[in-house]
């Protein structure tokens, strides 16, 4: 599978691009030569319960996977052609020659599940909430849209995005599966309404949600894409136990676990069920790291931060953890082997990336002694209570740190508490922290390092990084942009603000009777299920 992003560089040529009629049925039709069967309920296992239901305010698969089928987005990543961008509620769009105005046409006849029409006003209200959130409303990804000056709705079928500067990533970021379209009338009453409620225009309607147990959707007969969806509904079963989810797939109680299962479980399922199941393996736009709280001692000291980075042997980790967890590739903050990645030889110059683990540890011990911790220190490593790969990664880190005298106490937390302590309150010393996105886009992947970002759990601030981030976001020349992206990563690594870990790989095992679904390198995209069908119940 292609791992890079196919860029939309139309603005560099200063031509108007009209991408009309990228109709979803054409895409679906290209996928399967079999005649789709209607009916059936897709049963899926999921590894966590949603901390909240508003995708604008959340950043976990536990929210997005269950609610994605209920909503539409302006654009979307092609379910069968990652990372191409196609329309969802937008039927066509054009970009002005100066790259500063994006004009989208909204498909006619789209209705929310309460029967009200979806218009440009709803798109504008949803994007206003993301880009310019009112006080008391969290917006996780507003930094990805720093180029946007305003969103306008001159008529019910037209939406304009006016930019402060041309942006290389905007079109891709407008295809974000997180940016679901909410009805304006609900947002006007309470912008936090969708934290606990659902009202979308997607292929499925909300049916029921029992916290901690199940989430169900049923077919939307008025969906704007003709003859979709094929399924009568879908149902997620929530279990934080990896072995329970694997057993559920193996026994047929669930047909799929969309996120990932360890290689050993996948092999066992495949051996047991043979051709009854299909395994899709892809890279993953997620890396598992450790965030250090840069505002608390001893992590205010760069020597301590460097020591903790030096204390982890990532190369051995990749070999040891791959079979257990899928964590494998050593890299910085952009995915290895992509156009934005640092070359391995360059990476090896930074703390913790040198090939000689013993030499790294000796240097770590020296730095700790210099910082006043000759015998190391004790620290609490907070984590999410999900085994794969959060806890496996933490166990590896803890035993590595022990070799340099740092004793970490592992403290797993429930998803909501983990977000509250890490993202919202900074109530931690060190914390397992994954960074993932729906595509390999620098605007998104580097947002955790800019001042004030709600993704900056480490809570550091470096004006140089902020400046580089802003510059790369507005640089249209890919070669120049790459230089800035690499330079930014070097500053983070030099200052050891953060502890990069390993990049993940994805194993999706599903029953062969589940048709027309392709695993992209992100568990956030292709979750609408509108083209999925079951060949038997």
């Amino acid at each position: 599978m292609t791992t890079g992003i196919r860029r939309h560089r139309t603005f560099t040529a200063f031509v108007i691009l009209a991408v009309g009629c990228l109709a979803v049925p054409l895409v679906a039709g290209a996928q399967s030569t079999e005649t789709p069967r209607r009916g059936g309920i897709l049963l899926a296992a999921i590894g966590a319960d949603a901390p909240g239901l508003d995708p604008h305010q959340e950043q976990t698969f536990a929210t997005l996977q269950p609610v994605a089928p209920l909503y539409s987005t302006l654009l979307q990543i092609d379910p069968y052609g990652y990372p191409n961008v196609i329309g969802d509620v937008a039927s066509e769009w054009k970009i002005s020659p100066d790259g500063l105005v994006y004009t989208f046409k909204i498909r006619p006849g789209i209705r929310f599940h309460d029967g009200s029409p979806l218009t440009s006003a709803d798109v504008r209200a949803s994007y206003d909430k993301i880009l310019f959130p009112p006080e008391g409303v969290r917006s996780i990804r507003k930094h990805h849209y720093s180029a946007v000056a305003s969103v306008e709705a001159p008529d019910p079928s037209t939406v304009l995005f006016k930019l402060k500067f041309p942006s290389a990533s905007l079109l891709t970021n407008l295809a974000s599966p997180w940016n679901v379209i909410f009805p304006k009338k609900y947002l006007d009453k309470d912008p936090n309404y969708f934290k606990n409620n659902v009202m979308g225009s997607g292929p499925f309607k909300f049916k029921s949600y029992t916290r901690g147990s199940t989430f169900e959707g049923e077919r939307n007969p008025d969906y704007f894409v003709k003859d979709r969806p094929y399924l009568n509904g879908y149902k997620y079963f929530i279990s934080t136990e990896t072995s329970v989810r694997a057993a559920a797939v193996r026994s047929g109680r669930a047909y799929v676990e969309f996120r990932d299962l360890p290689q050993a479980e996948v092999d066992a399922i495949k051996k047991h069920l043979g051709d009854k199941v299909v395994v899709q393996q892809t890279p993953f736009v997620i890396h598992f790291d450790v965030a250090m709280n840069n505002t608390v001692k001893p992590f205010t000291d760069i020597r301590v931060r460097k020591a903790l980075n030096l204390g982890i042997d990532r190369y051995t980790g990749g070999r040891v953890l791959y079979g257990l967890t899928g964590l494998r590739d050593v890299g910085a903050f952009t995915r290895p082997n992509t156009e934005w990645a640092m070359a391995p030889a360059e990476l090896e110059k930074y703390p913790g990336f040198g090939r000689d683990a013993e030499k790294n540890r000796a240097e770590a011990r020296r730095l700790l002694a210099e910082a006043g911790y000759p015998n190391g220190f004790k620290v609490v490593l907070k984590n999410r209570n999900i085994k794969l790969p959060y806890q496996d990664w933490a166990v590896y880190v803890i035993q590595e740190w022990r070799k340099i005298g740092v004793e970490a106490e592992h403290r797993p937390l429930e998803t909501a508490a983990w977000y509250a302590d890490g993202r919202d309150q900074g109530n931690f010393e060190v914390m397992v922290f994954p960074t993932g996105h729906f595509v390999d886009d620098p605007d998104a992947l580097l947002a955790p390092f800019i001042t004030g970002s709600s993704q900056n759990w480490a809570r550091f601030s470096n004006p140089g990084i902020d400046d580089l981030y802003a510059r790369q976001a507005r640089t249209l020349d890919p070669v120049e942009r790459r230089k800035l992206v690499i330079e930014l990563q070097k500053i983070v690594l030099e200052n050891a603000y953060h502890i990069p870990g390993l990049w993940w790989s994805r194993n999706v095992v599903h029953w062969a009777k589940m048709k027309n679904w392709v695993a992209p390198p992100s568990h956030f995209t292709n979750q609408k299920l509108q083209d999925v069908w079951l060949s038997e119940d």
Binding site: E135, S213, D424, G426
Partner: protein, 318 residues
């Protein structure tokens, strides 16, 4: 006896009132502003003071403490525990979704435990130091030593590997579909019942051994009574008091304390609800669940006390 029952029933009122006051006070003396915790520093720590004030008003935290307690108590009397901050639904509705599952599991596991533990505990005691005793002791020590969640996972894996079958992932109440309910609940019942039976078996064995060494038992043997009469009529009933206490407290504990087993078997019970409510800072739910647990213990203790009299006629209640 009637007077005693009436007295005990009346005594429940101040006990529950004390428990309610304790729960209420604990929730207010824990460090941190609950309203602030609920917002959790959203939007990078910029919290709208108006929203904060509105949340305090919604929770009733702007009222004097005694008014807050009175309001809450009045709600409790009407089974109105407020609205869950996490789900937005009334707490009682959330509880009613989960309580049947937890009650069924607790009741069935208790039954399994008693059915296994009493006969095997007796057998081990009357056949002390024989292979039967050793076998019972080994199996019961296994029940104590092996964590329930591990037995649960093993159960599921063996079923899947050898029979290609796994328990359902969603709870169906027995009155809706008894067979689906049985398919799901039998495994956690066996898992929890095994650990529970292990504790009770050991207690039955040791208390029965103690009673069997009493003088009046020796006299019964000397009179030439049959073993069955000696053990069941004279020894068993007198050895049951500690066992009843144990069964009672374990039962009350099971209603709210089965977090790990519920997680393994994807059971949406009260145990997981407690943990989730704490994690989500769902203050009305936490308050209600602690009170519910206290209520369960008070009721179970009452039943245990009343059962004492039936088992041991020497106990005279005044």
């Amino acid at each position: 006896m009637r007077t005693y029952i009436a007295k005990r029933l009346l005594l429940i009122v101040p006990t529950l009132l004390g428990a309610a006051a304790l729960v209420f006070v604990i929730m207010r003396v824990i460090p941190g502003d609950v309203a602030l915790l609920i917002f959790g520093g959203d939007a990078g720590g910029h919290i709208d003071p108006k929203q904060l004030a509105a949340m305090r008003e919604r929770l009733g935290l702007d009222q004097p403490l005694i008014v807050q307690f009175g309001t809450w108590l009045w709600g409790v009397l009407r089974f109105d525990f407020g609205t869950s901050l996490w789900t937005g639904r009334p707490v009682i509705e959330e509880l009613l979704v989960r309580l049947p599952l937890s009650l069924e599991l607790a009741l069935a596991a208790t039954m399994v435990s008693v059915i296994i533990a009493i006969p095997f505990g007796m057998l081990a005691a009357i056949r002390q130091d024989t292979w039967i005793d050793y076998a019972v002791r080994v199996i019961s020590i296994g029940g104590l030593a092996i964590p329930s969640f591990w037995v649960g996972i093993l159960c599921i894996l063996l079923l899947v590997i050898f029979f290609g079958w796994g328990p359902p992932l969603e709870f169906t109440p027995p009155w809706v579909d008894p067979w689906a309910n049985f398919q799901m609940m039998i495994w956690p019942i066996v898992t929890v019942g095994y650990r529970y039976a292990a504790v009770t078996t050991r207690m039955t064995r040791s208390t029965l051994l103690e009673v069997l060494r009493e003088d009046y038992i020796r006299t019964a043997w000397a009179k030439g009574l049959q073993e069955r009469a000696v053990v069941i009529r004279h020894a068993l009933k007198n050895s049951m008091l500690p066992v009843i206490t144990l069964v009672g407290t374990e039962f009350a504990f099971l209603i709210g304390g089965l977090v790990v087993t519920e997680t393994v078997f994807t059971l949406n019970g009260v145990g997981r609800f407690v943990v989730d409510a704490v994690a989500h800072r769902d203050y009305p739910v936490v308050q209600a669940l602690i009170f519910l647990t206290a209520f369960s213990f008070v009721i179970v203790n009452l039943l245990v006390d009343l059962t004492y009299a039936w088992f041991d006629p020497r106990i005279r209640y005044r």
